[in-house]
């Protein structure tokens, strides 16, 4: 029995050839078994299974999925139609896991949606896809058509009486569209400003109807939880958090990439074993554990497990689980500047700490990076971080934006001070020498525009 229980449910169907995204291959390997099983279960049974599995959202916030779903009104007099939306807008800096899942296993996402439809009585699903994910768009479009041809979508699916169809919506590129209420506004043809909550989308979302928004990876977990049961899912995790997670590493490691590993895998294993450790000539100075809007951690944190609560206790967040590595030869001020610039640009403009605070932080960081900073600038940056703290803004963009900044000021403060004291970027000069020994062109700080002025 144990042999048939997978330890890597999300990626077990992935092969290097073209077959893994076709419906035949997916079904031959056991795809759509979870959905078929769900047709034999009641909505209550499905919801209980989901709650029991302890699945937490994989889009960054880690909210328990079963609990979220339980807020959707059910029963005959519940508002309809009810909508399911896959959040496939992946724009968090340093995050590249959802693209892989969509390109390699589009049917896994569709199966997750079908289980959602059966659980919540939803009749329409949307995949809200990032506009620049052209290959994912192509494969999802094909997979949806394959499902319509096989009566896995449409009316009376597999004779079960379930009616459900999925539309692919490609976005036009704005990070804030990933925030679930902004996403809903975007789909309604409005500017993508977030909405006030309550009402929560589960009760009144798209077009005022009950709506569930979940991340790609979250939906991908559903078929396996239904197929193999909640206990199996919980046992996959090494600590309290259930299941596996697609972890990733980018930066100057030997083998940047993505791996499906148990929840709770120590960070050191991910970076040293799977990503092959740092490249020759580089040492690890710090890392963002879960994408660009998480706080820096440093070498002393390498032995902690990657799960939601442990990382939070260390003052950061698991976020999307994709680690970005800062090496000793890249300027930490430049790294934070790159991120703040992104967040300032992507602010939707609704509230002041974000709309005005982030550009101001960018100006201060540019000053420091250019060797024109003053000691007072560091205090001002700290103040801006406090202004953008949770509770002071309308959504989580601004609090996330200042996480790398506030933690860089904590861990790499000497580097900020060195810029100010030496009136130049101490990293800059070394990098100006050109090509490094690995043959990769060296970086001259960050922020493309500054060189336009030269």
């Amino acid at each position: 029995m144990n042999q048939t229980l997978p330890h890597n449910p999300l990626t077990r169907f992935i092969t290097d050839d073209e077959s893994c995204w076709s419906i035949e291959q997916y079904q031959n390997q056991g795809g759509y078994q979870g959905f078929r099983k769900s047709l034999t279960l009641s909505q209550e049974q499905l919801l209980d299974t989901l709650k029991e599995s302890n699945l937490r959202g994989r889009g960054g916030a880690g909210f328990p999925t079963g609990l979220k779903w339980s807020f959707v009104p059910r029963g005959d007099d519940a508002p309809s139609p009810r909508y399911l939306i896959v959040n496939a807008d992946e724009m968090e800096p340093g995050t590249f896991k959802d693209r892989m899942l969509m390109e390699k296993t589009p049917h896994q996402i569709i199966e997750g949606l079908l289980i959602g439809a059966q659980t919540l009585g939803a009749s329409i699903g949307y995949i809200f896809l990032r506009g620049d994910y052209y290959l994912a768009e192509k494969r999802l479009t094909k997979a949806l058509q394959e499902c319509r041809d096989a009566n896995l979508l449409g009316e009376n699916i597999l004779g079960s009486g379930l009616d459900f169809d999925i539309h692919l919506h490609t976005s036009a590129g704005r990070y804030i569209c990933g925030e679930e209420t902004a996403l809903i506004n975007s789909m309604e043809g409005k500017r993508a400003n977030p909405r006030a909550k309550p009402p929560f989308p589960q009760v009144a979302g798209l077009w005022g109807k009950p709506t569930i928004v979940n991340n790609v990876e979250t939906f991908c977990n559903l078929p396996h939880i239904i197929h193999f049961g909640p206990q199996w899912f919980k046992d996959l995790g090494l600590n309290d958090d259930a299941g596996t997670k697609i972890f990733g590493v980018s930066g100057r490691v030997n083998h940047p990439g993505l791996w499906e590993l148990p929840m709770g895998t120590p960070i050191r294993d991910i970076i040293e074993q799977h990503a092959g450790g740092m490249r020759d000539g580089y040492t690890l100075k710090g890392f963002l554990p879960g994408g660009g809007s998480t706080d820096f951690l440093v070498a002393e944190h390498l032995d902690i497990p990657m799960d939601y609560d442990t990382i939070s206790k260390q003052g950061s967040r698991m976020g999307t689980g994709t680690i970005i590595i800062l090496d000793d030869r890249y300027c930490p001020v430049a790294m934070v500047l790159n991120l703040i610039k992104f967040f300032a640009q992507e602010s939707c403009g609704w509230c002041t700490p974000c709309r005005d605070g982030l550009p101001w932080a960018q100006v201060l960081l540019e000053k420091i990076e250019h060797g024109e900073g003053e000691p007072e600038d560091i205090n001002q940056l700290e103040e801006l971080c406090r202004f953008a703290a949770p509770g002071n803004t309308f959504c989580a963009l601004a609090p996330g934006a200042v996480e790398p900044l506030q933690s860089a000021l904590k861990y790499f403060r000497e580097d900020f001070e060195a810029h100010i004291n030496q009136a130049c970027c101490p990293f800059h000069d070394k990098k100006r020498q050109g090509i490094d020994e690995t043959g990769t062109p060296c970086i001259k700080g960050s922020g493309g525009d500054k060189y336009e002025q030269l």
Binding site: R99, A172, W207, G251, E346, G448
Partner: protein
Amino acid sequence: MATKEQQTIPVSVIETPDISLSSKEQQGIDELISHSPQLAGITIDALKLIQAERGWVSDASLHALSLYTQIPVADLDSVATFYNLIFRQPVGKVVLHPCDGISCDLMGGEHIRQCLKQQLNITAGETTPDNRFTLIPLPCLGACDKAPVMIANKQLFENVTTDELPKLLSTFNEVS
């Protein structure tokens, strides 16, 4: 305050036949409307459809779209100006999107963008005088393990090096 004459100007513009929607565009829009629970839901898709046909979304195109769909111009423009991938200015035949996300910059992405600017002699947001290339850096393109990366002509180029850029640009010259 706009005078009455001023208010009528856009009307005469939108009645100019050469900017009204082609029958192909109209068909596409009709199809979008048939799928959307409410009219406004088509906005992004409709703008993308116009852009696919015309290369970019001009004021005149916005008016034409508004006239056809009855969605107010201001609503259309508030959406059009919100997104990175809806172009409200003309772009060249090939739009180059080098990534300026952090993982790419950690791996030399800045050098790639700098090199592109030098080769094409334009800065970010500009189009070459021969209308071949527009340079629009985009944030993290979701391929950070292959950094630095670039999207051009809807295709993702991974592990881009400055050495191969001239050759890459010349292949676009051939197709365009």
